[in-house]
């Protein structure tokens, strides 16, 4: 029962991270997990939501969305339907929580970093790709804020954040499922982890089936190792210089 793309059960797809994909946001990253492509932008906005104003703390929001043309068959546009669907809401909230786990909100002052994850092409694992790319965009936005002298603490990121999917397909635990596997997985789990190997979020679901504690343990093993590999790829990408013009840079 080999995988269609020949990967080992515990192997990631090819992962590519392209910084500076767009001109205007402080961070803009195209992340690719195989054929899944997500554009992650981090925009800096002055001020924070009303309920947080006056606290001296910053905020990170996230919105996830899918282009209608990203999926095998066209999906309808949520703006036209006039409402955001439950799945979209759920993923947007997940991305926001994941990124807030790594950021010291007092260091960025009363600024909001708005994360936009727009799926350009979907082939499974869009939410985990989104989190992995969004962390890199966030890191660029932090660099931008530092250059703009708007950081109270020069190192507000307490950890790096990466995420990967894992599931049970054909009775085997497998990492980083493409759509073809995801759509028939018996169990589906998304794991968000820090670069020190601690966990930030674990969401596992039996899809019309239940799963044993020992399957759960194997899935966690694979996912934590996968996140460690993603952390390395993020670090390589971030080792390059900031891809645009920083505020205060000599022109």
């Amino acid at each position: 029962m080999a995988r269609a793309d020949g990967r080992q059960d515990d192997a990631l797809r090819d992962v590519r991270i392209t910084r500076g994909y767009q001109q205007w946001p402080a961070g803009s990253v195209l992340v690719e997990f195989g054929r899944t492509r997500v554009l992650c932008a981090a925009s800096v906005q002055e001020g924070v939501p009303r309920w947080r104003a006056g606290s001296g703390l910053g905020w990170v929001t996230a919105e996830y969305a899918m282009l209608p043309s990203a999926t095998h068959t066209r999906s309808s546009r949520e703006s036209v339907k006039g409402r955001v669907g439950g799945r979209t809401h759920e993923i947007s909230r997940l991305v926001g929580r994941a990124l807030r786990a790594c950021l010291d909100m007092s260091a960025i002052g009363e600024n909001t970093i708005a994360i936009d994850c727009d799926v350009i092409q979907a082939d499974g694992g869009t939410r985990t790709a989104a989190i992995t790319g969004a962390y890199v965009a966030l890191a660029d936005a932090i660099t931008w804020l530092g250059a703009a002298k708007r950081l109270a603490d020069p190192k507000p990121l307490s950890c790096a954040v990466a995420a990967v999917s894992v599931g049970v397909v054909d009775g085997r635990v497998r990492l980083d499922l493409p759509y073809e596997e995801d759509s028939r997985a018996e169990v589906d789990m998304n794991v968000v982890a820090s670069d020190t190997g601690t966990l930030i979020e674990v969401q596992g679901t039996g899809e019309g089936a239940t799963f044993t504690r020992s399957t759960m343990d194997t899935m966690l093993d694979y996912a934590i190792a996968g996140c460690a590999r993603l952390t390395e790829i993020q670090a390589e990408a971030l080792a390059l210089p900031y891809p645009g013009e920083l505020p205060g840079a000599a022109k």
Copy 2:
């Protein structure tokens, strides 16, 4: 660091399940986890959603909602705001998935069972109480369908389903968090399990913190044991006769 209510870290709150709470739905259950009270109703509707019509399979939907007066400070009404919030969407989807895991959809034919979980009073753990109560309401609706001779298979429930929250508070893993603990938990996890101890859903989140693999393991231990205890309480409640009048009953 004892708990405010004197419980052991791995103990549930008092759990009460009252069947037959309302007159009209096929199943209607008031479930109480301490001061948290959720009204779970299961209504049988002929037909299935359009995308499933003609399949011969049934369906289970779920909607979760909070009365405005259920919370410490009044929350605004989603019907008046004109949109269902992300948290509500997320929990409704969770309840539906959890219950679908235990039901053989071919056995109920093209009927829909609509589960409504309305929180009368919120004191932490409303989503896990909702799942635990909704399973009992679903079981009553199945009994009702059987009496109405609308089941293709007399035992369509493949397992029982219960759920409980677990978290890290004051640095200790604790089961079944009330609001006072939940609101300051460092890690928060909801676990849905079957009566055979297998897992249906695991959702764990670091709230502004990360957690180690070993904390994850302890949380799973507590939660699986808690679900086993809830399964017993469900079974005791279901050992009583159906609380209303069944179709075809002699009057």
Copy 3:
């Protein structure tokens, strides 16, 4: 042509009023008119709507809603439909007007009392039960405000408010219609009255029929007498001590 439940034409159903039904609102009352059960909560909120700010006057708002599981066949949830229906709007407005008629707005200062009437079980007369129960919840909220030393005048309620339905069924004027009568009534009227027998609101409708002035007069006679009896039941309920902990109470 006796009534299905054996009542006299001018008799009320069994009416029960339970104070302190929920933990958190300042007033929380379960009111039952036969099988109709409505949960009425009164929550105190600082401030008033923008158009009233700076007036020194308080405000009372009301929202009425029906649980999907409250009706004979499940009704769809207005939050999911994304809009409040006309009937819901109409009743919410009626409840608010009725309660505002009895309250001196200058006495409560710039506070808002939000009334939530959520129908747990519907068997006719939900709007009149809601008003009758909401008055008791409002009275408890006033007691709470007094204990919190937030009243400019210690007795801001100028009268008590009760409401009852009356209609023409099978050619006879009848009081307090259950669903079985209401659904086939030729004329349907709701009357809100004060404890001095004066009228606050009269809404009478021919349902596909017209009615004579003399029928109108008989309906008013029955309804005013019914409201007087409801006023007594409210007074009995309110004669008991406040069912929770008041602000400033020694603990």
Copy 4:
């Protein structure tokens, strides 16, 4: 305490009814009660709402709306706000119920008559003017349906319908209140009556005050007499020939 326009307390304002105001609807009437002007159109549509299909019965719907420019200070447009307000809902439902009371639904077959009441200028009493004008538009639509040979019974209108407001202003009962009186009325009532003097709808409200049974009786006396006078004016208007081209007419 004379009225600002010099009228007797029980007198109507000048009432004018202009048929054939628009080109396309089967009935189109401009009704004026003093400075209040409402355009009432009755459009015939094949078919009935889904819940009524196959019954052989017709249906009458009504929508009431206010032009933004109709009021003393511009009111905002409900289409732009994205929701119909409670007051609009309430009046639309009232107009529909009032007209359905006079029409034999089996006589018009499975056709829907859509009534649109758009307020061109508001000076109090818009809902009662709307009902009074809409009846005339409905009568024209019935004539049109008859000419089109789409009536099962040539006289499907069982009665005429008119409506008027009455209230207590300056301590006196007064008929047909303009805005200046309406805005400070202590009691406000709308009465819909048939041409035989029977009642179709009575809606009376104390505006921050209560009212006695005897005030109620006087208000009903004035309103019933006012409706009788409106019925005469409707009959005069309808005595003229149909104001457009009827189907099947020789050209």
Copy 5:
């Protein structure tokens, strides 16, 4: 290939402009292009939208809408659908832009003039009639502002604005198309021009066809001449005195 109404290809329909159509707005104009009738109101509101506050500049907004009964077959009401359609949005924006082109925003200070164009009867060319009538209503609102001593500059209108449609029907260029021509036009163009013959807006569309540059030129010739004639009719209407009572007028 004569036109159904016998007009020359470059002739306008009968155009009538009635000022003072409604009581309350500062400007209220009924404009008729043949059977097309649009009610244009200009209401003065203190203050400007938030994004413009503090600029010292005024603002003009416009909303266009169609009564459901205005069209050959009844159209559904946008408030009931809960959203403004694309065509409505487009025309509202066009009317606003057209009128802003003629007004010196600094002269009216931080006041907003809200233009409402409500189509009473539609027979083609509603948007161009709306612009032509709205200019007259705007001129009246300016007169009103002047009388109220709220103008910084007594002549804030830099030009007059009129608009007309032109198209290709039956292979011929024709001016001011009624619905019967518009619905089968191969090319459809709307032109907004000033009283000096300069252009404000040109919107030309091939309806399932393309058109040559020379057709474009002829259409512009006809439209510019048509607008010049409309400018004369506007001027005649405005030569009469202000149709209501001006602020500060001796009573």
Copy 6:
């Protein structure tokens, strides 16, 4: 007064067209006009909208949208706002009309081609870039339909379609405005033309200014020449083979 990028007044920016940008749609094109980048996808869907069913004719719809991160400062997401804005509506309608002008609807049978134009990066001229790219995506979708043997006529495209903006900036007519010019243009015009030089749509607007007939003529000259150049670039792009796998192709 040279242009910031050194271009001649009548020169286009660098235009690049990349076919096969996404995996799943039948046509997927990334079009770039300088820094403006729009992703244009053409998805084939069986069936047509209800109002067109049974006609034997196909349909083309278009939706335009802007990623929040595409603009200089982040724009809010229309799905989250719950409504599509007027500008978005307007452009979506324009794109649809432009493409329908070139396609024989009977040749594609009852299929719908859904065009999605999502702006990845905005720097002026997004709507004209969208049309220019969407034509290429449409041509690929037609090739796909032909390979799938779903075309009644092998050449259903009657012309090619391209679009460009033109305006008056600094008193000079200029072609293909970037944001920096567009935001301060006195006149702004969008022209859609066919490959034979005929016009499909002309939309010209004075932005707080009016413009003369001779300016109009110069703008048309520039735009028609610009479209001719765009037509060549489209043809070069389409001269390459179809960028994916066609239905029926030997694997």
